[in-house]
């Protein structure tokens, strides 16, 4: 999928170059219109079940003294992206920022070059991973899944089983872009926390539940979200999300399902059919878990989520109401109070059953 988009990215980039080139030749001021990413232009798309950008466009014109610099920056990032894709190399946002210093393109600080990369994503409608710019990776995958690398050139054609490393395999570009050869698992568990991820490996959850395990280490990075989506779409595996029982944990699940507002300019990152199995607010009572009072910040976050379009479904709203009522939160590790294996032996089967029945 990414390889396909690489080719698309290349053709979009040269289309952009041709337009600008032609404008200059005609003696016109080159200009680009980019979908605006201001909050007023971020709307919820019912069909896609995620945030998308509306019709507003913002202008980057060489005729405007205030815009000519950012237009130049955008075109530089575009030409940098083209080189990356053509040469099959990758870069990070930080790396790109340092490269810019070589070209006399002045970014005041890295946030400015990061924003320009987002501009290019918006303009092309492609995530930056499509033109080989990646954030720092921290998510990991473990399970009986055989893959074949497609990048980089040095590893092309090599095969690896993702169950081979008991620490899990880091989800980087190569894993996210790999071809799936064979998979014996029939579901995916996505876990917010590395400690629980490790417990699952130690407790042979992959075996007992025939599952692939993914550790998002907090809010899921884009490559992890891409991989989750591919597992769901290409292999048809159901995806189950496990997070802490607090507004932050539930939002980690929500972003995997319906995407983030920050990435409203991107499609193909969401896994709408993924299921949040817990911990729910109601699980605290249900499983008699040790809990803590909500902080002020937690309560404010809950108020914000209540008004969020992505949360208007009944189940999500009722969980938020439960938080408001009990004013308690709990972490995944809380199951340890009931013994090392409680989460695996008691909780998971019960919750999966609950979800199947719904």
């Amino acid at each position: 999928m990414l390889r396909k988009s690489n080719r698309e990215v290349l053709s979009k980039l040269s289309e952009l170059g041709n337009e600008i080139y032609a404008e200059i030749e005609r003696g016109e001021f080159p200009r680009i219109r980019i979908p605006s990413r201001t909050t007023s232009n971020i709307v919820f798309d019912e069909e896609l079940g995620q945030f998308v950008l509306g019709d507003q466009r913002s202008l980057r014109s060489a005729a405007n003294i205030k815009q000519i610099r950012s237009l130049t920056q955008l075109l530089w990032v575009a030409s940098f992206a083209k080189r990356l894709v053509l040469e099959g190399k990758s870069s990070t946002l930080r790396d790109l920022y340092y490269h810019s210093l070589n070209y006399g393109i002045k970014f005041r600080e890295q946030t400015e070059s990061d924003d320009t990369v987002t501009d290019l994503e918006t303009l092309l409608g492609e995530p930056r991973e499509g033109f080989n710019i990646f954030p720092k990776e921290r998510s990991a995958i473990f399970g009986d899944l055989e893959i074949e690398y497609t990048t980089p050139e040095t590893h092309k054609g090599r095969r690896v089983n993702l169950g081979s490393n008991p620490d899990g395999v880091m989800v980087g570009l190569s894993v996210a872009q790999a071809d799936f050869l064979s998979c014996k698992a029939d579901k995916v568990f996505v876990i917010e926390k590395n400690a629980v991820f490790r417990r699952f490996i130690e407790e042979r959850v992959y075996d007992k539940f025939n599952a692939i395990l993914i550790d998002t280490a907090g809010q899921a990075p884009r490559l992890a979200r891409l991989l989750i989506r591919r597992l769901n779409q290409e292999l048809g595996l159901p995806v189950y999300l496990l997070t802490d029982a607090d507004p932050w944990g539930m939002h980690i699940a929500m972003v995997i399902i319906r995407g983030s507002a920050n990435a409203a300019h991107l499609r193909d990152l969401t896994t709408v059919r993924a299921k949040w199995v817990g911990l729910w607010a109601t699980d605290i009572k249900r499983f008699n878990l040790p809990s803590f009072p909500l902080t002020k910040l937690d309560e404010e976050r809950i108020r914000l989520l209540e008004e969020d379009m992505r949360y208007r479904d009944f189940e999500w709203q009722s969980e938020l109401q439960e938080f408001k009522k009990t004013r308690r939160r709990a972490e995944l590790e809380a199951f340890s109070a009931h013994g090392l294996t409680a989460i695996v032996d008691k909780y998971l089967p019960k919750k999966l059953k609950m979800i199947e029945e719904n």
Partner: protein, 514 residues
């Protein structure tokens, strides 16, 4: 009269005993004052007759702190028989008439001569001619007790070249080494105000300071006017009555006072309860006092007019400043005539920006003050100009005295300059004078602000242009790379559009500024 006798004895004696009040209190100050007084007399001798001044001054060290000064001018010259009195008797030539000149009574020059006689036992040598067939040489001393000139030697020689002017030379005890900074500054500042004068100074070190004229234009000379009733005191009126040939009070007022006609005189005398036909000489002291007091109160007099003044004028002031500082911009203004206490005066001011003007800290700003074309070099911080500068809110004119290269010039011309001291050093803060200076400087400040705004606009246009010149080639290159084309597009066409736009903006701002 015994009174007269008492005066004539005391005049020379008085100044001898009180020489510090006229600026001779120590050798340093005396050196500066002597040079200044002689140069001023020389300049007056030219300007009052519309002769472009050519004044040469030479100071020679003779050892033991004795210096010989020689000042030569091309002025009107002193008539043969008046030379001894012009240089050898204090208070000679003091008429009760008013006009703008550097010194009112020519007192300073004679003080200088007297000082030389006292400190160096020097007689004064004068060579003068009014441009006729003869020139005449005098060697004089002053008899201090009797206030009379003593002629040591006199010679009359033919003047085949029709030379006209005066050369004065004498020795005095001084201290040039320490006076030098002020002396040089005096010549420099004098030349700022007199761009039509050749001024030359050779100092005892042999250094030549030369300020050549850059124009032949001169301001119109000041006309002599009678005193205005507001500006006289009991003593002056008393003397005028003694000198007058008028036999009635009406005639006396009309003949001796500035802008007083018969009707005004009659109205005034009614107010003062003095008979129109009274002989002025018969007034008793009570009537005389009433007359003078009423003169100050009566509001029916016409204000004094300014024909007796000789301001430099905006053009000449500008020229002088440009020659000295080569500034980026000069704002000049001349106020209309005003008056204080019956003395007419005119204020001229300028503010110069940039060029050779340095940026000075706020407490060392460049402020040049002139009164009747004399630069004032002492006591800046007591002067009314400084008071005004401190009062004005310069931020309103977008001027920052601490960070901008600014120089201020204020010239006040008056029949009587309101000096605070006899030493002609700084000007008192008379409200009328203060008001005129304030508005003159504010007018200049507005002009400077407009100039800076215009420049800023031009700078912005230029900066805009350079932004385009920087980014357009990059855009061209990146688009070439993206399109995979061989050579970059020709962006000159786009750049020309930017340049055309810049020119348009610039012209528009020029029109706006005018």
């Amino acid at each position: 009269m015994s009174r007269e006798k008492f005066q004539s004895i005391s005049a020379a004696d008085f100044f001898y005993r009180n020489r510090e009040i006229a600026g001779f209190d120590n050798p340093v100050r005396a050196t500066y004052t002597i040079i200044r007084e002689l140069v001023e007399n020389a300049l007056d001798a030219c300007e009052q007759y519309s002769i472009p001044p050519d004044v040469r001054t030479k100071l020679i060290g003779e050892g033991n702190s004795i210096y010989r000064i020689r000042v030569e001018d091309n002025g009107i010259g002193v008539p043969y028989d008046q030379v001894p009195y012009a240089f050898g008797q204090i208070l000679f030539g003091s008429k009760y008439m008013l006009r703008q000149s550097r010194g009112i009574f020519g007192l300073g020059g004679k003080m200088a001569v007297l000082y030389g006689q006292i400190t160096a036992h020097s007689s004064v040598k004068v060579l003068s001619s009014t441009g006729g067939f003869e020139k005449y040489f005098y060697e004089l001393n002053i008899n201090v007790q009797e206030n009379k000139p003593i002629v040591r030697r006199k010679e009359v020689t033919p003047n085949p070249g029709r030379w006209r002017g005066t050369i004065i030379e004498f020795s005095f005890e001084g201290d040039y080494v320490r006076a030098k900074p002020k002396v040089v500054e005096y010549f420099r500042q004098t030349s700022i105000l007199l761009p039509y004068a050749n001024i030359l100074f050779i100092d005892p070190d042999g250094t030549l300071y030369r300020f050549d004229k850059i124009t032949d234009e001169m301001p119109k000379p000041a006309e002599t006017v009678k005193p205005h009733p507001y500006g006289v005191d009991l003593e002056i009126v008393h003397r005028m009555i003694n000198a007058t040939r008028s036999s009635t009070m009406v005639d006396f007022l009309v003949n001796n006072f500035h802008r007083v006609g018969a009707a005004t005189a009659i109205n005034f005398l009614k107010e003062a309860k003095i008979s129109q036909n009274a002989n002025p000489r018969t007034l008793d002291s009570k009537e005389l006092l009433r007359l003078v007091n009423k003169m100050k109160e009566f509001d029916g007099f016409q204000p004094p007019d300014a024909q007796c003044l000789s301001p430099i004028g905006e053009e000449l002031l500008k020229k002088g400043i440009i020659r000295e500082f080569r500034p980026e911009y000069v704002a000049v203004t001349q106020r209309g005539a005003s008056a204080y206490a019956g003395y007419p005066f005119i204020v001229e001011a300028a503010i110069a920006y940039g060029g050779d003007i340095p940026i000075t800290p706020q407490d060392e700003m460049l402020v040049f003050r002139f009164a009747n074309k004399i630069p004032l070099l002492y006591d800046l911080h007591s002067d009314v100009t400084m008071k005004v500068i401190k009062k004005i809110n310069w931020q309103r004119y977008r001027l920052d005295l601490g960070s901008m290269p600014l120089a201020f010039f204020v010239h006040i011309c008056a029949t009587k300059v309101p000096y605070k001291t006899v030493g002609k050093e700084y000007i008192a803060d008379r409200p009328e004078v203060e008001y005129e200076i304030e508005w003159a400087l504010k007018t200049c400040a507005r002009d400077i602000r407009a100039h800076l705004a215009k420049k800023e606009k031009a700078d912005i246009v230029q900066r805009r242009l350079s932004v385009f010149e920087r980014y357009l080639p990059m855009i061209a290159n990146f688009s070439t790379e993206l399109a995979g084309n061989g050579k970059p597009p020709d962006y000159e066409k786009v750049l020309r559009r930017v340049q055309a736009h810049a020119k348009e903006v610039e012209q528009r701002s020029l029109v706006e500024a005018e």
